[in-house]
Amino acid sequence: MVASSRNVHPKILKQFQHLLGSIQLAVPLLVAIIGVLVGATFYESQVGSPTVQNLIYKSHWFGALMFLLAVNLSVSALSRYPWRGPRKIGFALTHFGLVVLIAGSAAVIHISTEGMLLVRTDQGANRLVRVEGELLDFVGPEGQEQQFNLFIKPDNTVSPSQAGDLELLRYGENVITTTNFVEQGEVANSAVKLQLQSDRMNQTLERWLAVAPASYSEVSVGPATLQVQQAQSEAELKAMLAAPPKAGDIPKFGTLLLDSGKTIDVEQSQGQLIELPGGADMVITQVWPDFRLNSDNRPETASEQFNNPVLQVALRDGEKEARWFVFAEGGFEPVKTTVAGEPLDAKALGLANLSYEVQPQPLEDYFRVVIAPDGSRFYAANSSKGFKSGPFEAGEAVTPGWADFRISLADSLDHAVINREVVEVPEDEGLQGEPALLVQTPDGSQQWLPWGEATTLSDADGDYYASFSAQMLELPFGVKLEDFIVERNEGSESVAMWTSQIRLDDAQAGPQESRRVWMNHPTWYQGWKIAQASWNPGDLNQSTLQVKREPWWVTGLTWLGSLMVVVGTAVIFYGRSAMKNLKAALPEEKDEAVSAEAAAVPSAQAKGLDAPLSV
């Protein structure tokens, strides 16, 4: 028994080895690879490259297929040892070369690090590289941090589907955080849910307002503002329900306050001569509602909003002339510049405490819910059609005068607590959400984990602090885009070349280095290759660079394999005839060579055909 099994065993092994290196295996294997590749390219035109890369080219089964091919190639080349004569040398070179090439290509795909680095001319150096794929990072109740690289499949399932204790159920492309209020609090806090309805615009809006938190006490809805206010006393209630001052009552451009207590309406007196004590005078020359200095250090206004009002006055006292900048915000002293003569004596001119004040304009369109001290509700509404106020009861609609909008009380709470919920909505509903991951914790509860936002997932055994975000990689140096140069084809808008002028900031290496990177011309820095990847035609301050690190031996493998395959193929096909010609050139060896050839090749097989048959 034992003896016979010993006899069978090597035979089977030998047969198996023979099969592994045989053409009988190679041909079906190649046919299978062809089939997979054809399918993959057509599938790719449907679902896009990243999916196919992940599902097919980077999959284990495809790797296994390639591995089997490599085994087949190796065994077939080994079985022809010793490699004597041009054909066998060529055969070994080609087949081993292919093995090296497969190994090298696999290493390129699996070992190298690659990502995109977004740099801008108007921002500092960036060292965070965006790597393809998403990252799940969490700390479980045990306090151990875990990280997982995720890939989102086209059907929105996630690979892997299990990350530690967490089950990754699904990826949602459009998930929004909704906010509402629930009656759970111990502290009194009024909240109302308003419904705005317009038949003409066929629109219905619902908005929650709450006294606390403050950010929910006022909400803008288009040009109108919704407010809720809590009155602590009857007087306050009255003030809150009073009609607003008329728009013209408060000077739009503010007032200038002199030492004498005199106020000057800036808008009214701009450009006019304002007389000062001692025969001096002053003119308001300019006003900047939202003052800033531009890149030439000249004053300009950033907007028409009165965010940072500044005015300029020209002063004259005999021969003395000066120009002052007066600030409304921040409590700065005026900036004084002497234009001619001696500096002015501010005190003598009654300008020692010159100040500039701008009061905000009253709201024009608002709807204010006021909670009386006894808890009853009132409203005050203002619009271009006028002001109105009164009690605000459930079931009664108020028409504030904005088109045909009616406002009614949809819900009200007295001890409101804010409650945020993450829900998935279809994209065509017009609600702009963000991607999120649906996660199930060990106790079976499911929660959405919004993209790029650290979130606490509560579980019976304790909380998970998790974040679902882009996979980033930090470079050991920073890259700053100094300039982005776009060359166009002459006389046209089409692009001839774009070039990134970058600066490499490396604290360890010392001085900064400037480099230029453009298509087909990458730069290398400390083993990292930086290449121009793409650009944004709409924003020429921005450039996307591809950053890659590949071990030198990986590059070496692919190049070595390439050389072996090309040389090997040439040797298989033409090595023998080249040798023949070479020998023919040496007269004394000629006869021998020809007879050797004749013996090796059946005479019926003419040149060309002889090649494969004698392999």
Partner: protein, 588 residues
Amino acid sequence: MVRAIAMKFLKFLIGFTLGLMLLVLPLSQFQAGPLAPLQSLAVQIDGRKKPLDTVALETVQKLHGSASYKQADGSKLDYLQTYFALAFNDRDWNNEPFLLFSYRPLKEEVGFNPEQKYFSFQELLSSKSLSQVINRAHAREIAGEDLFRLEREALSIEDRATLLYRTVGDNSLPLVPHPSDAKGTWVTIENAAELYPPETAADLMALEQQVQQGYRFGAAHLDYVGQLGGKLKQSLAELSPMVYPSDATLQREVFYNHFHPFGKAWMIFGLGFLVMLASLWFKPLELYGSAIGLAAAGLTTEAYGFILRMQIADRPPVTNMYESVIWVSFGVIALALIFELTSDKARYYLLSASPVAVVCLLLADRLPVVLDPSIAPLVPVLRDNFWLSIHVPTITLGYAAFALAMGLGHVSLGHYLFANPANPTVKKRLQTLSQFNYRTLQVGVLLLTTGVILGGIWAHFSWGRFWGWDPKETWALIALLCYLVPLHGRLVGWIGNFGINVAAVVSFNAVLMAWYGVNFVLGTGLHSYGFGTGDSQLIVAAVVVADLAIVALTALRHRSRKPSGQPLIIEEVTLSEEAIQAMASEAQ
């Protein structure tokens, strides 16, 4: 001996000269017309400076789908005459049936006569149903949806109508050079005052008006118009002699347009094919040398064409689909000639190569809408002359070798289909043909392997990885595997001569897919700069299916002839198995 060689050379020379004679006919192509000075006016358009002649050719080809215009009275205008007729607005172009409209389903959809090929601007403009289709197409385009073929065709009709509208009475060509910057933007004569003193601009404007006036006076005054044109060109060139292209440069391109090398090469190859066929049938005539001479003449013509194109474009010869198709025709003949010269009167290499080359050149010449022959600036990623000039030509030469094998395969399959392979003469010929095929496949495998690997090395620099399974890469690999499988299958005797010929024909479809299909059928991936917009897919698919049907028919016929229960080619199978046995024992 010397005499025989002299005879051979004389015959070659006869063929070569005959081929070159075809080039110079008709002689009128070398006679400069009266408007010749206008032809070489430089225009800065679509990212480069080109002579007005090229602008005229490209415009007329786009509008009319052909380089000449046959008028209602039967007389023919060449592209330059047509262009001047348009630019000087010498007739009612609104009602001239000039615009190409060839897509039948769209004509039927909008209620036009499907037999009519050319339509007037007025007809197109007044068709409500056509404008509906166009509007729908625009709406879908804005919504980011994929367009149906009907809509894409409607948009191309709209483009043509817009181009006609722009061209008629056109004086918006940037003819005035930038005063100092070689790459600076040129302006029209009307706007010359933006770059030059007002009096200079006024002089130019006056000259331009004189040219227009003169043209309106009619054919008798064309010489005068030509003189004025010459004066205009001289004044323009003198404005900025450093920026204005040299006369030699402009004339070179004008010559290239008129010489039309690739349009003539196919005729020479066609004649060479006929002479080679005659040499096969009438052996006593000994026409072989002349056939080779003709092929060499055609190849010389193409080489000259490529040199001109490279000089004009200042870049390697193969950068787009049009150039690759021409390059394959060049490669096919070049390889066939090398094989012919290294074997003894093989004949079949050239016989198989010529039809392939003729088809390639005809497609390139007759389908300017699908294979755009215009010379345009390259996209940034291709701007690397070193890699562009070694990777692409190598790959496409590989395609050419496989195209030659495909041609040889067809000749062999023709024998299987129409002759009796059992007949000793036929059998011998088939044996020879299969050898030829095998040698050609070797060259193809070596070139394509090298080309793919060179592409990998370029990709390593340009995209940062050697291999990334981009569709174009993948399909080049698939094509290679499609040849390696039958070549290996032959080693174990799974297929024989017949099989290798079938493989040479069938596997070429993988080359077709890698070459054309990735760009026109799949339309994804990093090689998108080559992607096409034309709609040739159905025609190509029909040709492929028809060809496969012929292969299947031949296979059926071959099977029915084969004695039952025996392998296809007994002799070879036994031989190769013996060889393998010997191998195996040697390995132990």
